[in-house]
């Protein structure tokens, strides 16, 4: 396999594997948040703020993978 193909493969693997865990995390956060809002609708604004914050943190991990793959692609 030539280096260029290997590089493209590496980019795809980094993105594919790196987004699995953040996807699970965001799903869990969303389901728990919907649960909490369902139980206590008055607390919806507070739950939403915490939910969006937690989602942003989980998303940051996928963004790290994205940065690595962008570096691989463009540098």
């Amino acid at each position: 396999m030539d280096p260029e193909a290997m590089k493209l493969l590496a980019i795809a693997i980094v993105m594919g594997l790196g987004t699995i865990c953040p996807a699970i995390a965001i799903g869990l956060i969303g389901s728990k948040g919907a649960d909490a809002i369902g139980r206590n609708p008055e607390a919806a604004p507070k739950v939403q703020t915490a939910m969006i914050l937690a989602i942003a943190f989980a998303e940051a991990i996928a963004i790290y993978a994205l940065v690595v793959s962008l570096i691989l692609k463009f540098v």
Binding site: F57, A60, I63, Y64, L66, V67, V75
Partner: protein
């Protein structure tokens, strides 16, 4: 399609100091904030006008949020300048980076005998230097505020075991020490990654379908710009709150 470059391109040099396009937009966002501040300062009134009420509302919201972390209005007002500055600066620079004049307006520069198109503006946070500088500033101020609040010895007792005859670095202290550097990395890469990924996403979507379809993505980027500024300042706030608390064993 524009070429995507990971590093900010150089526009011109002052002496041997390169001025990049990200730096130019950072200066623009500083000017925007400065002029807003001056306008509000000149028109300040006991009965607030339109702009003043918007900013009073914003300030009140930030203070209320800081209260929920620090638990004391006096402390919130003390640390408001640091937190609000970080928040406003990152948010303005992110939002300025979304304006239509940022990508396409540029110069054709000759570099090493090669002509290339260089945009004059670029979102500052899509340059790693900007975010690392902000992360280092926030880390230094966290440690300094900790020292001022609880004293030099108390603050550094989390790194060193001060109960022994001479200070020894413990295993937990070593981990704490390492985590300070990890904080810099996570702070800077989170902001850089989000903004840079947004730029690339907008560029690619705009290239595929130029009309209407990029709109939801633009809205997403406006939201991400706000959320990332909020997260950066909130994490600084949480670490400050941890640093100024004196733990008694």
């Amino acid at each position: 399609m524009n070429e995507i470059s990971l590093r900010a391109e150089e526009i011109f040099r002052i002496g041997s100091w390169p001025v990049t396009n990200a730096l130019l937009l950072a200066i623009v966002s500083l000017l925007v904030l400065l002029s807003l501040g001056l306008i509000i300062k000149r028109k300040i009134n006991l009965v607030p006008g339109k702009i003043q009420s918007i900013f009073e509302l914003l300030l009140e919201q930030i203070l209320k949020f800081m209260d929920s972390v620090l638990g004391d209005r006096r402390l919130s007002e003390k640390y408001l300048p640091l937190i609000a500055t970080i928040f406003l600066f990152i948010m303005t620079s992110n939002w300025l980076g979304l304006f239509p004049f940022v990508g396409p307006v540029g110069l054709n520069l000759e570099h090493n005998g090669k002509h290339s198109f260089v945009p004059i503006f670029r979102a500052p946070a899509s340059d790693l230097n900007f975010t690392i500088a902000l992360a280092i500033i926030s880390l230094i101020s966290i440690n300094l505020l900790g020292i001022f609040a609880i004293g030099f010895k108390n603050h550094f007792s989390k790194f060193f075991n001060a109960h022994k005859p001479f200070p020894v670095i413990s295993f937990v202290g070593l981990l704490e020490f390492l985590s300070e550097f990890v904080k810099i990395v996570s702070f800077s890469f989170r902001l850089f990654g989000n903004v840079f990924a947004g730029e690339v996403l907008l560029l690619i979507v705009g290239f595929l379908v130029p009309y209407l379809v990029p709109l939801p993505f633009l809205f997403l980027e406006v939201f991400v710009g706000f959320i990332q500024a909020f997260i950066f300042s909130m994490l600084t706030l949480v670490f400050v709150a941890m640093a100024i608390k004196h733990e008694t064993h």
